[in-house]
Amino acid sequence: MALEGKARAKFLVDAERCIECNACVTACKNENEVPWGINRRRVVTIEDGKPGERSISVACMHCSDAPCMAVCPVDVFYQTEDGIVLHSKDLCIGCGYCFYACPFGAPQFPQAGNFGSRGKMDKCTFCAGGPEEDNSTAEFSKYGRNRIAEGKLPICAEMCSTKALLAGDGSEVADIYRQRVVNRGFGSGAWGWGTAYEKKGA
């Protein structure tokens, strides 16, 4: 549960609703002008083509106790008061440790290669930009739009075709999901929540 008087930004993917339409993926590309080859968000399907097929949309979950933050040798990461995990591309050395640490495969790199840098790490910002001034040109060019500063939520969730992907304050998101589970009479579990949020309860 969120602490009294404090919001905690979270994503929730409802696997009963996700139809693998990829709206979240292209909405993100569109909004943040993410280049070909970098996918801040992707849809993963299990049991593809078989009974039991389910899809989930995966991006940085903005973990409470984010492993990326723990392993980064140059300390590029910081967490906002809302719990959003952001980073500085200026400081990033492209070592890829965060990628190995992340349970969701969120960090993306423009190049691959065993020698030299992979380039600056890129990942989902919860549409909250980076350390530069809000909605500045510099911020946009490095991190994409800062919708949070504009009073909006992440575009991927806002445009989700079936409202499978939810974003917002964790307790509100949980309420919505709980209501659905009551309607359905069963719950499949909010995918990834245990890994991302429950350990620290924030």
Partner: protein, 961 residues
Amino acid sequence: MLRKKTNGVAKGPRAGSLLSSLAAKTMDRRGFLAASGVTVGGLAALSLTSGRVEAATPSTGGGEVVRKKSVCTHCSVGCTVMAEIQNGTWIGQEPGWDSPFNLGAHCAKGASVRESAHGERRLKYPMKMVGGQWQKISWDEAINEIGDKMQQIREESGPDSVYWLGSAKFSNEQSYLFRKFAAYWGTNNVDHQARICHSTTVAGVANTWGYGAMTNSYNDIHNSQAIFLIGGNPAEAHPVSLLHLLKAKEENNAPLIVCDPRFTRTAAHADEYVRFRPGSDVALVWGLLWHIFENSWEDKEFIRTRVYGMDDIRQEVKKWNPEEVERVTGVPGAQLERVARTLANNRPGTVIWCMGGTQHTNGNNNTRAYCVLQLALGNMGVAGGGTNIFRGHDNVQGATDLGVLADTLPGYYGLAAGSWAHWARVWEEDLDWLKGRFAVWDKDGKSRAMMNEKGIPVSRWIDGVLEAKENLEQPDNTRAMVLWGHAPNSQTRMLEMKEAMEKLDLLVVVDPFPTVSAVLHDRKEGAYLLPATTQFETSGSVTASNRSLQWREKVVEPLFDSKVDHEIMKLFADKFGFTDRMFRNIAINGDEPSIEDITREFNRGMWTIGYTGQSPERLKKHMKYQHHFDKTTLRAVGGPCDGDYYGLPWPSWGTPEMNHPGTANLYDMSLPVSKGGLTFRARFGVERNGENLLADGVYSKNSEIKDGYPEFTMQMLMDLGWDGDLTAEERASIDAVAGPETNWKTDLSGGIQRVAIKHECAPFGNAKARAIVWNFPDPVPLHREPLYTSRRDLVEDYPTYEDKTFWRVPTLYESIQKKDFSKDFPIILTSGRLVEYEGGGDETRSNPWLAELQQDMFIEVNPRDANNMNIRDGKDVWVSGPEGARIKVKAMVTERVGEGVAFMPFHFGGHLEGKDLRDKYPKGSDPYVLGESTNTVQTYGYDSVTQMQETKCTLCSIMPA
């Protein structure tokens, strides 16, 4: 670093800090995110809650940010697109929360439409093929050269030798203008994608109960207690519709039953998945009805009062016992019994179908069988029921309604003498002049006015070119082909199409993209590419699948040297010298005809289906007050649109001044006609073989005629003593048309409709639906084996039709079916859609945000078949068809398809039989992703009524490449 396409100008407020901007709204962080979360919650429950925090002020730097409302140009759900424009540049896309159709949601395609305004791979200038190379030319040169060549063909071979192929991507106004243009040119060789999409639906459904369209709406599915989905994969083809389906599934506990040869992404969310053999739909539906009749689950009172011919259906259904159904469809009897019981116990239920049902040689039988199922269950004319036929393209419903078809003028008036007289009156045109534009053809001592003859359908245009002239039922072959917004790779027999393209005297493509038509052929001369705009570069109305009209605002100015379609039509009219006639009631600004004037002109003529009440003013008002409309009933609650249904779903009877609210659910007798109620249409006479065809003692709410009645005429008003309700102007207008003979369809004043509705009667009468269509090849829908079938044991019991000539072209059935191809081509081949792409894919494969997600053309093969054929997942294979074509694609080994069945998506193009044609595109206009077309190996086969192409069931062989 990210690449930018917005000139470095960030949109939105440049708040000093997050906290200060929030403080300005006296809200703390917690409050902000919480409020936002509530909105998502409201949306999740599809409620009207709206508490989302919006940025209060536009950007202070870089110019004002303006919002424009348009509608997605991909599928027929009609999702609102909110565009943010700064200095003429489309800089952002926001969710259209207020739209009752999509509530902010989009699929991959809708979420990426802003790319249209980048258009890096668009066709940028008019191009001409010179010595096998594309060369830039001016618009003037292009129109002149093309026009001169067409005039020459007209003089040598007659107007029917030029084929005008239109588009479901037109707005309603452009569709109407295009049909009118073809009439002024003098041919019925005009058609569009509806032919190869839902033509069998339109024919089958209209002939069952009057109108050939989706009866209810996506939103009305909220009321369904069961959802029966056959031959459709809306999770990929209409993703946002799942928002509505899943609501019924979750909140009503409505069972979702998906019948499909393929375990689709939709099937993945089903409660019951029924896998059946491609092409056996009728057998499957009769198998369900067998259980329904056997157990007396049918709605007997509904059938008695509102259905004609159900006894003939019973006779046929008797043959379809569970054993026979399993032999033909492969579905076990026990499963169908369970499905039938589910449908019987959960009423009202909706039936949904798409291309899986329509694209067959007996497609019209399939669509009618689905209708009969709903009639038997009494699920018609009721909220939560109906036949919810999901149309394909964004405006395929509108383009169909406005008559971009070879067999009708706008509004399904047909091509009879009276139809032409009606439209000539609307156009204030000299009917004799119009007649003079058409050929009169003398053959076998008979003189035929080609004006009244159905044209060649788009599915057969290649036969208009390739067939021997003496076998055609028109004066000469097709010599010039205009593909105006059409992907050729959405059609079968592509090797023959290549040949046809090469044989033409003139090939003209009008499109925002070069399309496969630019590269398929090896022409050296006589081909042109003219850049048209997308719908985001113009305004106008578009009709969603549920018959609602929405108004698009212009988002950006035309890109590059492209022109809006209606302007290009005007330029050709100039060249042919009939601009003054064709636009006599339409203002022209520069070279661009007024869109609103065009809307008003069709408002004055489209009485048959009630496209008369939707004035531009009313439609714009609906777009402005979208948030006033209930998300389930679609009805406005208060405000300036109070009582209207969103988008005035047709029929919106009478004149705009009459203010009819539109009809959300067709044939719903629980409402008065003035409030959107309706009866089944009296379209097929009043009596047959001594049996009454009119409704039996039932009528819509408050109707003053308490029984069935025929369609309204002036004579009928006089007989009822209601003619006194007409105004003097209405009476004068009626007298000018045909006096007492004037009917509700031809009365240009709308008076007959107004008076009928004043007495709460449906202008088109009150009749029974008919379960048998006695004027079709199979009055009772029959199972017929596909032309290319691997089940030779069924051919004798369920043969196809005899060969015949109709729609001007010889058409083969039994002469193909009698040959056995199943030894060399043992696998059944079917095709369908992917969520990332649309239609032939030229536009979507040119959009990098979409193209990245699907980079390879593939074929789905069952693991058992794959192992037997030595095929490995991800490797290249050759797929060969029985007509001699082969394509090289990647194998995807998956249980998604059953044993003996393979599936390919149809959106790819630009490769041909293993050859990459990328070099043949105009430089810089090649789509990011190319691939083989499934339609290269797809084969011959056309519906026995509408000439729909067969794409869902043919044969192939697959081998490692």
